[in-house]
Assembly symmetry: C2
Homo-oligomer: 402 residues x 2
C-alpha cells in the first residue's frame, strides 16, 4: 500500500479477475476505490477457492483495500444510484472501472450524459461485445496448442489466467493515462480493453504472429526454451530446476558451474556451432547438448549445486509446489516484505500482499483486507452523493441498498 | 496508436519482454519513447523467432514506434551519454524505464544525482537483485506443478511469458501513476517491479496463496476449470471447444443449447446437487456431468453448434492453432482494426498492432515499425542533449555512437 495515487476516487463495478485486479492495483497505489456490489454479491462472490465456511478466498484477495456499496442493480432505482456514483463530480473522481455490458445501463454514453469528462474503462471478452473468458480466448489464439510435451496432441490450457491479469494492469495504466490527459485537456475517454485484443496484440508484439504467418505453427516442445538454451533438469536428490542461458555470459557461467566446457567443445567441433556466440545454435542442437546437462545435473544435489550456480551468475529456479513455497521460500513469501499477515472478512488470518511494485525508500503502508459487502454503503452515499440520514434510511427500507 | 500521452518523453534501456513491452505500451498511447541500444544490439537483439535473414521478429515487435540511439555502453563516455539522456530536463521528461542492474551505472541514485525528480522504473528478476526470468520464477511459484493432465508428474511450463507481460503493463501503470504524483508534489520515485513479486503477489491476490496455506496444493486437473464448469470438448467433426459456465445464466444457456436439461435433472436427483445455484457443485460432480457433455458435443458439428451456443449466450472458444487464427479469424486478426499491415526493419511486411486498449470514438493512428538500431542517434543527441554537429561527429569518430 502506497499513497502515490492518494486523493483519486475510482468507482468499480466489476467481477472476476481483470476488472477487480485493475481496481486493486489502483487501490494499493493509494486511490480510494469504491466497489458497487450487487446485494448478496456479484457473479464472482462465491468463486473458488473457498474457505470451509464457503467464503471466497478469490473475492477477498482481489478486493483488498476497497470500499463496498451494496445496491440492488436489478431495479431502476438501484441502477440510478450506481450511475450517480460513477458520474459523481470532482476533479479527482469520474473514474469508472467495469466489466458490465458495453450497451447496458452503465454504458459510457449513459455516464457521459451525466458527466462529460468521465473516464470509463471497460474490460470486455471479445471486442465485439460477445462473451469470453481468459480460457476461451486462450484456446482461440493457439497457446494451448503450443503448451505441453512434444508430440502430445491434446491442448494444455494454462492454469494462470494470464490474459485476465494483463487486463487488470492494462486497465490501471489506461485509466491513469487518461487522467493525465484529462488534467491537461479536460477530455474524458471511453476505453475498452477486450481480452481478445490483449491476447492478439500481445502475441503480435512478441513476434508470434509474424512467425505464424511466415513460418507456420511453432509446435510443442515441452519445457524447452524456444530459440536459446533452457529446460527443466532433475538432480540426484529429486530436486528439479529450470535453467536458462540466453546471453553469452549466462551460457559461459552455466558451463563453468557444471564443468562442461570440454564436452561442449567437442560438440562444437563436431557441429561447427559456436554456442557462446549463437544462442539459436543452443536450441537447434539441443538434442546433442541436453544429454551432457542431464548427466551433470543428475549427478548433483541441490545443496551443493545451488551456490555454484549462483556464484557463476546462472539464471535458474527450483521447481517447488506453491504449498511448499508459501511455507518455506523466504524470497517469495515467508520473508517477503510485500506480505503481511492480517485478518480477512472470511474470518481467516493469512498473509496478504501489496502491489507488485516497490517504491524504494518510501514507507510501505499496512495491508488492508477486503470489505464486507455493503460495509461502506451509508458512508459513501452520504459522502459521494450527499444523501442525508433520512434518504439513506428510505433506501434501506425499500431494500435498494444494504 | 493513440496520442493520449503525447508530449511525454520516456527513455528506455531494456531488453527481453517486460521492459520493452512497458515502453511499447507507453509509445502506443502517444509518448515519445527513446531506446538506448548497445552498439550492435543488446542481449535480445537476436532473440527468436528470427526471419530467414536472421533478424528478430521478437525485437522488432516489441520496439514498434520507438526511437533508437545506439551507444557503446561498455565505455565510460558512452555511459555518461546514457545517464545524460535519462536525466535530461523537462516537465514531461525524466521518465526512465530499464532492466539494467539496480546498482550499476544506471542506478536510481546516479540518475537522481543529476535530476532529483527523476522517475526510474526498473524491471528486476528477483527482488533482491539476483537474476531470474519468467520461466524460472514460474517454476518457483509452482504454476508448472498445477498445469497439465491430472496424474502427470512432470511440470509443464507455460509458453506464454505471462509474468513478463504483466510486468510490462505494471511498468507502464507505475510510471504514469508516479508522473501524476510528480505533477502535484514535485517528487520523483524509484520504482522496482521484480518478476518474483509479480508472481507472488498475483497468486496472493487470486486466493492461491491462502488456499495453499490452508488447504495444501491444488493439484493438476488438466483443462478442467477449477470450482465451476469448464473443459475442452471434442466435436464430431474434429473441432475442439473450450466451454465455461460460471454464472447460473451461463449454465442454463449451456444446457438449453445442448438440450441436456433432463439428463442433468437426473444427476441432480441422484446427488442432491443444485447445479444452477451452486457453481462449485458443477466442479465437485464433474465426473458425473462430463459424460453427458462429451456425448452431446461428440454428436455435434461446429457449423450447427456454434450459432446455437451463441444464441444461448454460452461462453465458449474454439481451439485453433495460431497459424490458423492469423489467417482465418476475423475477430482476432484478419478483420481486427487493431492490426495494420506495414513494412518492418527486417524487410518483411506483416500485420502489426497498436495497444490492447481501444479509445472508442477516437482516431486510431497508423502503426509504426520498430526503428533500425541508431536510426535516431543524431537527432536525439541534438534535440535532447543539445549537442551540435561537431560534437556529434566527434562521438561518431570515437566509435561511441552509431
Amino acid at each position: 500500500m502506497y499513497n502515490i495515487l492518494s486523493g483519486l476516487r475510482v468507482i468499480e463495478a466489476a467481477s472476476f479477475v481483470a476488472g477487480p485486479s485493475g481496481g486493486l492495483y489502483l487501490a494499493q497505489m493509494g486511490a480510494q476505490v469504491i466497489r458497487i456490489d450487487q446485494l448478496g454479491g456479484g457473479p464472482d462472490f462465491r468463486r473458488w477457492p473457498l474457505t470451509p465456511a464457503g467464503d471466497s478466498l478469490y473475492w477477498e484477495g482481489l478486493n483488498k483495500g476497497k470500499q463496498s456499496v451494496a445496491i440492488d442493480l436489478t431495479r431502476a432505482e438501484g441502477r440510478e444510484l450506481a450511475v450517480a456514483l460513477a458520474a459523481a463530480p470532482g476533479d479527482n473522481a469520474g473514474l469508472f472501472l467495469t466489466n458490465f455490458p458495453v450497451a447496458g445501463f452503465l454504458s459510457h454514453a449513459a455516464l457521459a450524459a451525466r458527466r462529460a469528462d468521465i473516464i470509463t474503462l471497460r474490460i470486455m471478452g471479445w471486442a465485439d461485445g460477445s462473451p469470453a473468458l481468459d480460457y476461451t480466448v486462450n484456446a482461440a489464439v493457439g497457446v494451448p496448442d503450443m503448451t505441453g510435451p512434444a508430440g502430445d496432441t491434446h491442448p494444455v490450457n494454462h492454469v494462470l489466467p494470464a490474459w485476465d491479469l494483463l487486463g487488470g494492469a492494462w486497465a490501471a495504466f489506461a485509466v491513469t493515462a487518461a487522467l493525465l490527459r484529462r488534467r491537461t485537456s479536460g477530455e474524458g475517454a471511453e476505453i475498452r480493453v477486450p481480452l481478445s485484443d490483449l491476447a492478439a496484440t500481445s502475441l503480435g508484439h512478441m513476434g508470434f504472429v509474424a512467425e505464424a504467418l511466415t513460418q507456420g505453427d511453432r509446435g510443442r516442445m515441452g519445457n524447452d526454451l524456444y530459440g536459446a538454451f533452457g529446460r527443466d533438469f532433475a538432480l540426484a536428490d529429486g530436486a528439479r530446476l529450470y535453467v536458462v542461458a540466453i546471453t553469452p555470459r549466462q551460457w559461459r557461467g552455466l558451463l563453468a558451474a557444471l564443468e562442461l566446457a570440454d564436452g561442449i567443445c567437442a560438440i562444437e567441433a563436431a557441429t561447427g556451432a559456436d554456442f557462446a556466440a549463437d544462442e539459436g545454435a543452443r536450441f537447434t542442437h539441443r538434442a546433442a547438448l541436453f544429454p551432457l546437462f542431464e548427466a551433470a545435473f543428475g549427478a548433483a544435489v541441490l545443496a551443493d549445486l545451488a551456490p555454484r550456480l549462483d556464484a557463476a551468475g546462472v539464471t535458474w529456479g527450483p521447481y517447488q509446489t506453491l504449498a511448499h513455497a508459501v511455507q518455506h521460500d523466504a524470497r517469495l513469501f515467508t520473508g517477503n516484505p510485500q506480505f503481511e499477515t492480517i485478518s480477512h472478512p472470511s474470518g481467516l488470518t493469512y498473509p496478504a500482499s501489496g502491489p507488485a511494485a516497490t517504491l524504494a525508500g518510501e514507507a510501505r503502508g499496512p495491508q488492508q483486507p477486503a470489505p464486507r459487502l455493503g460495509a461502506d454503503t451509508d458512508a459513501v452515499l452520504a459522502d459521494v452523493l450527499g444523501l442525508d440520514c433520512g434518504a439513506i434510511g428510505r433506501l434501506h427500507d425499500a431494500g435498494l441498498v444494504a
